[in-house]
């Protein structure tokens, strides 16, 4: 069983489009995250949710909107995609916050053309 699963694995789209990435975890964790990994492999946190409540929002453009329907799911919707949004987006979960290990999904590679 996959602990943290995200779909799709690849997403190729044109500038200006709107797209969503879905994430689900079956670990029973309370906290979920979205991280962005750029072309230089730098990982930067975007959002975290604890039990459906937004905890961290790291100066991400408001074109990015996370949604957590329940504590096992955290989706990411991106409006008006730009070239600079091209990256790998990782979903992760943990029992709680900064003192718990993260469990990562396999990533979604977003390419905006």
């Amino acid at each position: 069983d996959t602990a943290v699963s995200q779909t799709p694995k690849y997403l190729v789209t044109q500038m200006g489009n709107d797209k969503s990435i879905k994430c689900e975890q079956n670990l029973g964790h309370d906290t979920m995250y979205w991280y962005k990994q750029d072309s230089k492999k730098f990982l930067k946190i975007m959002f975290s949710y604890n039990n459906k409540e937004l905890i961290i929002n790291e100066t991400v453009p408001n074109r990015f909107s996370p949604k957590s329907p329940d504590k096992a799911h955290l989706n990411l919707h991106i409006n008006s995609l730009e070239l600079g949004d091209s990256a790998v987006y990782f979903c992760a979960s943990s029992r709680q916050g900064g003192d718990s290990p993260l469990h990562f999904g396999n990533g979604t590679r977003l390419t905006v053309t």
Binding site: K40, K41, L43, D99, P101, L102, F104, G105, N106
Partner: protein, 113 residues
């Protein structure tokens, strides 16, 4: 500001040789420390973590790391590397349950046959 530094962008070692990857952090209090590994096209996998207690921690795949408070370091070591260890390695730091985990910029490990 909290920060994590991995001074080596690339490291190349021969198969069977020993390995040490460096990590330095800047935090106000005793941090929670992690090492993750990312194989190509995959998410990040936890290798080991340090929360408290014995400063030498053992992880999976034969890796270990040593926490040195005086040097603000948490270096990752392996006595004998295998070709399958070629990957990107990330040091990460968190502080408390309400905090986020931040990542270093990663070290790419290359293995020579």
């Amino acid at each position: 500001a909290q920060s994590v530094t991995q001074p080596d962008i690339h490291i190349t070692v021969s198969e069977g040789a020993s390995l040490e990857l460096r990590c330095n952090y800047s935090y106000g209090a005793t941090p929670y420390l992690f090492w993750y590994v990312q194989s190509p096209g995959q998410g990040l996998q936890l290798l080991l973590k340090y929360f408290s207690g014995d400063t030498l921690v053992q992880g999976i795949k034969g890796f270990e790391a040593e926490f040195k408070r005086s040097q603000s370091s948490f270096n990752l070591r392996k006595p004998s590397v295998h070709w399958s260890d070629a990957a990107e390695y990330f040091c990460a730091v968190g502080q408390n349950r309400d905090d986020k985990i931040i990542f270093g910029k990663g070290t790419r490990l290359h293995i020579l046959p």
